[in-house]
């Protein structure tokens, strides 16, 4: 290279050309196209630039307040750190003491022998969410509501930690997806029903979602039907209500049979 850069035709041509192209595309993307929007909130140079850059402006403030639900909805926000807070002298041992009130229905060590769900080895995130929902009324139960009414948040955390620490008893039948009914293994894509295992384990597991095997047959069936009828509504985004509503009676029976095993 010889001579100063700004006199060099390669430098001036390439850098200048690229700069002009950049100015042109920025003008189109940030000024011209946004101003062509037929929306008064996007009018004006600053508004159009900010909207195109994705910067929230005051027009967000004019939005109406969120609608409040006439029925009680779940307020639990589960994140991976929700249950991480150090317990104040609580934990599994304290949970075990508190759990004495649960044993009559859920078994001595969390393995139910009646039609109530088994809690031993259940994910702590799922236990905690359900307990909170019973407490707030988002999940209705005449039996559970009075039992959790006066418990503190720390009590719920300790109970969840205790039951999660107990050994889980899995039935061998649910280890094998080959023998699973279609609704469990593949769902029904045209009816927006994903495979059960895509949230409840085996394929992937999602935070706050319980495993299902083995739970008592009657319990599973009652819950699926409650989701289908909309009488249970503590699934935050209505995912279980939408799934259960689209399931046939035969599919509900097949999935319940599969997950309950011999119970």
């Amino acid at each position: 290279m010889s001579g100063p850069l700004l006199r060099n035709r390669w430098f001036v041509g390439s850098v200048g050309g690229t700069f002009l192209l950049l100015v042109f595309s920025v003008f189109v993307g940030f000024v011209w196209l946004p101003s062509a929007q037929d929306d008064s909130l996007f009018k004006g140079l600053l508004n159009s630039i900010c909207s195109a850059a994705g910067v929230p402006r005051s027009w967000l403030g004019e939005a109406s307040a969120p609608v409040t639900s006439p029925v009680k909805v779940s307020e639990v926000v589960m994140t991976p750190t929700t249950l991480d807070e150090p317990s104040s002298g609580g934990g599994v041992g304290r949970g075990a003491t508190l759990a004495l009130r649960c044993t009559m229905c859920h078994g001595l060590r969390g393995v139910s022998t009646s039609q109530t769900p088994t809690l031993a080895g259940q994910y702590a995130s799922s236990l905690y969410k359900e307990l909170r929902d019973f407490q707030s009324g988002a999940r209705a139960s005449a039996v559970m509501a009075p039992l959790v009414a006066e418990l503190h948040d720390q009590d719920l955390r300790d109970l969840s930690a205790y039951y999660a620490s107990l050994p889980r008893q899995q039935s061998p039948a649910t280890q094998d997806l080959q023998s699973a009914p279609d609704i469990v293994a593949t769902g029904a894509p045209m009816r927006n029903i994903p495979p059960c295992g895509s949230c409840h384990g085996r394929l992937t597991a999602k935070l706050g979602v319980p495993w299902l095997d083995p739970q008592p047959r009657d319990y599973l069936k009652t819950q699926l039907e409650a989701f289908a009828h909309g009488t249970r509504r503590n699934d935050t985004s209505a995912q279980m209500r939408n799934i259960a509503r689209n399931m046939t009676t035969e599919e509900i029976d097949a999935s319940v049979d599969y997950y309950s095993g011999t119970r």
Binding site: S14, V15, L22, P34, A53, P80, Q178, P189, A205, L207
Partner: protein, 541 residues
Amino acid sequence: MIYNKRLILAHFWLAFALFGVAILLGEWQMFIRSPLHGWLRNADLYYRSVTAHGTVMGYVFPTLVAMGFGYFISEAALGQPLVGRRWAWAGYYMIIIGSVAAVVPVAMGLDSVLYTFYPPMIGNAFYYIGVVLVVVGSWVWVALMGINLYVWKRAHPGAPVPLAMFANVAGAYLWGWTAVGAALELLFQILPVALGFATTINAGLSRVLFSWTLHAIVYFWLMPAYIAFYTIVPRAIGGRLYSDSMARISFALFLVFAMPIGIHHLFADPEVGAGFKVVHSIFTAMVAVPTLLTVFTICASVEIAARLRGGKGLFGWVKALPWANPQMLALALSFVMLGFGGAGGLINMSYQLDSTIHNTQWVTGHFHLIFGGAIVIMYFALAYDLWPHLTGRALLNLRLVHWQLWLWFIGMIVLTFPWHYAGLLGMPRRMAFYDYTAPGMFAEGVSVVMSTIGGAILVVSAALFLTVLIRNHSAARVDPEPFTFSRAVHEPVSLPWALNGLGLWLGLMIALTITNYGYPIVQLMMTPEGRVPPVFVGGKP
């Protein structure tokens, strides 16, 4: 003269062996999701296969081809033994270790996240570490290419850098810079979560960082094919390269315009402002310039060869071309696929039109046609051209080579045309099974069956390709003439500094990365509420 034949052959053979395995996975996937097979009971098997197929075909295979070809070019074009031979082997072994570390957990079902990672999905950390090792191994090559050119330039002050090496180093630097996006995503977003140091991930930021890599990686894949267009084909068919300067300008423009365009992969993403999507869309359109320059220059070079062979008339010269020559055939087939693929690409890159095909099978059809078709067929061609020089044995069976190239072309058309059509019908991508019994989905089922047949043809072609190469190793020994690259009509005597080095173009590449990516990245980094819980694959809650 080629000094390190073992090193180059090792790269090519590992690339082609992995390609041979991964293409079987691809065909299995097509078959599994076609109406020819019932629904998979365990959909995870499908996603494992897609992850492995994509990881091998997207990261390992083209990287190894570019590296092997790059070492070859460095020695053949510069006429000097490779500087840093031990480092090159170290990079090679790093890629082997990385590939094993990545593929084993994928096979175990711990990393069914697909090769584009899709955060907030998170799998076993070994997969990501393996991919990082592959990238770091390839960065050794990037550095070596720069160093070898530097050493040569010092020994030959003022001399024009051979075109093949100019383009090769452009490809290396493009890869070096574009891989930074995915590396940042892996190191600062995904791995901390996969290793348990963090419990949330900024999915939007991760996606923007990946888009930094996602489009320019395609041009990195494309570089060896374009180098073959310019520096092998004209020589092989007995012609001359029409313009050396035009070739250099094309490679320089690829370097500049491949980078600041990746957000066109995020047109449907809410975390990027619409203005940046328009800017990236316009810059994507600019890639048409070096592409069309190439098509023009190569067609002109081919015409020179035809007229030298006595071709006459406005189009009559086409008949005079050496169609029996594999390089000629591969070039023609590649250009046809590049034409169709490029036309489809115009739809993908348009902010408005993209919404009609976004996340449909159209997109997968598109990148198989462009990469698997137009580019990979030139990988075959360059292997055929290089092999006798690497093994010192004759590549005799031209009939088999012809069959192989034609089958690859036919297979790719039969695979991808119905694939595009299925996308136009609205068939979504990334699903293990489809309900073809549903009303209105019959046509999609038919097109997937056609694609499955196309894929089977490709498997046959791949088997022929490997057969040709393997048989060469036991063929009669020959003493091939010294390897040469194409000569230009007007060979460069002295070049302007801008076309004899990459500094100017690298500067523009980095400047445009900052203007086009700077704000979206900083904005997302300063949006802590963009952090979401990971979704662990492999059953971890």
